[in-house]
């Protein structure tokens, strides 16, 4: 076989070139086409007459888009900080050589295996004030217990954060745990010899050394935030009102239901720009370290 390949003058470059061509056409090509569409007044069917940046002006005067962006920031910050903190805490606990570690690890990793749609639905049922947690606790006898965040426009976004953290904390736990296991035992010996308290050891010695691990988690979680769609659809459908709308849902709604291809394309391009801005610190630190 290999001699046959050699006779054919097989070169890996060709395979790679084909791969890059696919990426160039379907990925960057689509981005360019989307950008083109965002400069037109296309509705259901593409129109190819360029009108300039009108759609972007429309976008930034659209209340729902502004609310969507704000929600993404709120959700993003709370979700990322919460998931990192909770996941890291679990990892640290698991790293203290507890009993039945693999049992707990499986339990906490399990939510990740559940799709976001199921996650959203379950949490929706759980938090629905008339059938879920609130009704249960009131049924037990605590009549005044109230937890109706899901139906409160000013709080509903935080229920998404709760469901999101529940879903992703296990992932962070596993990654951080792997990082912790990679710490040299000599370092731990030194820490013990110096008599440094445990929390200081983690905060000042162990975690700073695990920056690449944390950075990977941040990038993974950030991509969840930006393309956040299924969780919202299953849990709140963007409501009450427009209080839990997000950019990805905005784009999908305007592409299809509102048949406004132009505005939806502008929203997609802005999402791309937002992702790049949010990832900038990461790239910056990566490049700086290499040079």
């Amino acid at each position: 076989m290999s001699t046959w390949l050699k006779r054919q003058g097989f070169k890996p470059d060709i395979t790679v070139a084909a791969f890059f061509a696919v990426v160039a056409i379907f990925f960057y090509g689509s981005i360019l086409w989307t950008f083109y569409m965002s400069l037109t007044r296309s509705t259901l069917i593409p129109k190819y007459e360029i009108v300039g940046f009108d759609q972007y002006f429309d976008l930034f005067t659209n209340q729902r888009w502004l609310v969507s962006c704000l929600n993404m920031v709120i959700f993003g910050v709370f979700y990322m900080v919460g998931t990192l903190a909770f996941g890291t805490l679990l990892a640290v606990l698991a790293d203290r050589r507890i009993k039945a570690e693999s049992f707990f690890r499986t339990i906490f990793l399990y939510p990740l295996a559940v799709s976001l749609i199921i996650t959203g639905l379950s949490w929706r049922w759980l938090l629905d004030p008339t059938t879920g947690l609130q009704a249960l606790i009131r049924g037990i006898g605590w009549e005044t217990f109230t937890f109706d965040w899901l139906t409160r426009p000013d709080r509903a976004i935080y229920t998404l954060v709760i469901a999101g953290i529940w879903h992703s904390a296990g992932l962070v736990m596993v990654i951080v745990l792997a990082g912790l296991r990679g710490i040299d035992n000599d370092l731990w010996k030194a820490i013990r010899m110096e008599g440094i308290p445990l929390w200081r050891a983690y905060c000042q010695v162990i975690f700073p050394g695990m920056r690449p691990v944390i950075a990977s988690c941040v990038v993974l979680l950030m991509s969840e935030v930006i393309r956040g769609y299924d969780l919202i659809i299953a849990m709140t459908k963007g409501g009450p009102g427009i209080s839990t709308e997000m950019p990805a849902k905005f784009a999908v709604d305007f592409y299809f239901a509102r048949v406004n291809l132009g505005l939806a394309s502008a929203a997609s391009i802005m999402m791309l720009a937002l992702s790049l801005i949010m990832l900038m610190p990461y790239f910056y630190s990566e490049f700086r370290r290499r040079s």
């Binding site: 509705t43 259901l44 929706r124 409501g239 009450p240 709604d253 592409y255 239901a257 048949v259």
Partner: protein, 438 residues
Amino acid sequence: MRQSSGCQVREDRKFKINKNDFRKGTKMNRKCLSSTMALVGLLAASTAAFAQTVDVQQYWTSSSESKAMNTIADAYKARGGKWIDSPSADFDSTIAAAASRIAGGEPPSAVLMTPSAAMRDLASSGQLRNFDDFAAANGWQKAMAPIVWDKMNVGGHLVGLPVGIHADNWVWYSKPVFEAAGLEEPKTLDEMFAAADKLKAAGHTAFAVGGEPWQEVTILTSMIIALGGPEYWNELFIKRDPEALKSPLLPKAFELFRKVSTYTDPASPGRSWNETTNMVVTGKAGMQFMGDWARGEFLAAGQVAGKNFGCFLVPTDKPAYAIVVDIFAFPLNKDEDRIKGQTLLAETVMDPAVEAKIASVKGSVPSRLDVDTSTLDLCAVKGVKSLATPGVTVSSTYDALPGDLNGRMTDLATQFWTDPSMTVEAGVKSLGDILQTK
């Protein structure tokens, strides 16, 4: 000779696709046979042997809706057609699926939709089949109310066929609940809110509202039409006259809209319309603002208009009836059997007997004026009467507003509904901004 070899090639090609489908294989043989017969001159036999397939993209999924869709499907199958059902969960995903299928070159042969901006878009980009010939041959224009006919026509071509007519501005109420509270059917807005207060005091949810944006905006538009009547409605939403925006009616409508929100129950957010109707059906709630597709849910639960439930158009001095028309639009298809399927479906839908049946299960009013209405109930008769009275019927915002204006108004309504800190002035101003965009 040439004919038969052509037939052979065609069969081979199809055979590859349907290798395992024995039934299709025999059908192919029949088709082959029939085209040979056509060669001899039996043209009629050849057309009959073509399968007439229709692939219907639709969203009628609640119990009454699916009954109505089955009525159409059964009538269609009885005429010898093959029915492929492509259901979506809701209206929006139907449009999404249809649009992407059309763009992808695999259009459905019929799409259940409304004569909205999406239909006009599809039609003006030449994606929809027109039925001008059939309309002329069968006198369809005379069979429809002029406002309905106009909605179906884009650039002078008939591009949609009406399945049934609904109206937005209905209120549904539970008779037993009203009787227990000693209430009569309200004749004015004040009476309606007085009734709501009584129901609230009696421990009922006075207004059952499903907290989805499209359900909320219906209440706002119902208030506008109740206060302004058809003439003001047309100036505000059809002509989009800037003067109409200055009317003192608008702030009042927003206030009443907010007032309704104070009568709802805590489980309202996100609840679907038919679950919400069910609250009235079961007597948990007193009233619901909803289009008359709600009637189908009462009927599906075995209830009778005038006995178990009642209906009235949102009380107003100037009677108005804001219609939403369910239509089938027919994207251009290339396969002959699919084109024939479209034709057969068009004939099925426009059959007065089928229209009457749809109306009786779904709660709509027949879109043909010549349908026998003697079997329709109290509420449907109210609708038929309104439709027949000149100057009462107007186009709902769903159908009337261009582009995504209706969507943006929906966003505004749901924002105003859920955020009590948003002032009436801000609401009116935003509505003005939306209606003034091109």
